[in-house]
Symmetry: C2
Subunit: 166 residues, 2 copies
């Protein structure tokens, strides 16, 4: 069981545990939302969606394509992108742009979280911090805007890379 990080006066930061995604449930949601919109379920869409939900977060289209290829030779890049767009429209996937050029995708629907990205090894740590969420809302009120979403990204060196570099 992973331990939450130490709390501080600033709020508690919780590192998210992996394997939160219930693939089966996500697939059912996908199918029902396709049906709602009069769209079809196909072998390719299912393969792509299942692989995506199983692998989970922060995958690029390129990686997803490679993984799907392993179980289904017949899938083209276009279908990967079209299915990712479909998943976004079904509110099951969101698209992120970290500092590299290609988009990364992650499962939607769990609690909001933010990201730390290690600039050396590329590791991505997801975390939640309640104070941060509240503070973002407070800032939005002060700016007199309404928020639909927000994101925070921290960049630096993770503990392993830090240890390794001295």
């Amino acid at each position: 069981m992973p331990r939450p990080a130490e709390p501080t006066a600033a709020g508690r930061t919780v590192v998210e545990r992996r394997a939160r995604v219930d693939t089966q449930r996500q697939m059912e949601l996908f199918h029902s939302r396709l049906k709602q919109r009069g769209l079809k379920s196909t072998a390719q869409r299912d393969d792509i969606a299942r692989v995506f939900f199983e692998i989970g977060h922060h995958i690029s289209a390129e990686q997803l394509y490679a993984e799907v290829k392993k179980i289904n030779q017949h899938v083209g890049y276009a279908t990967i992108y079209r299915t990712l767009r479909l998943l976004k429209e079904c509110d099951l996937v969101s698209e992120r742009h970290f500092d590299d050029d290609q988009a990364r995708y992650e499962v939607v629907g769990e609690r909001h979280h933010d990201h730390f990205i290690c600039e050396r090894c590329g590791k991505i740590i997801e975390f939640e911090n309640e104070s941060l969420e509240r503070l973002q809302e407070a800032v939005a009120r002060e700016l007199n805007v309404t928020l639909t979403r927000h994101k925070m990204e921290l960049y630096g060196l993770c503990s392993e890379c830090l240890a390794q570099s001295r």
Copy 2:
């Protein structure tokens, strides 16, 4: 003189005033840093840099190209990108990736700030919030990582678009 937004218990949010960039000073810095590195000052580099510093924040390469074209027909896209890279290497410009696909550039060297982006009109509001900065540092400590940089982006509707939509 622009007024700071209302303070809250969460900290004071200050909307940044525009026209902070002293073009002349930035140009001098550019020239001296070129000289330091044994590189040349050229008409194209000067034109691109000057236009960039005058227009300021959040410009894309495409926009910059269009603006520079107005005062110098002879500039190619390649030189725009090469000069932007050079300005980054001289620590005068930083590159940002908001949610669209093309990179945007901004002047470096002022205090750290974050961004609100209006999803309807595309307006970008820069702001500073000291509590947010402290909180990000606290999170980094809890995650046991060191931070080199961080960014926060808020997305939503600005007050004007909000008023207009009801």
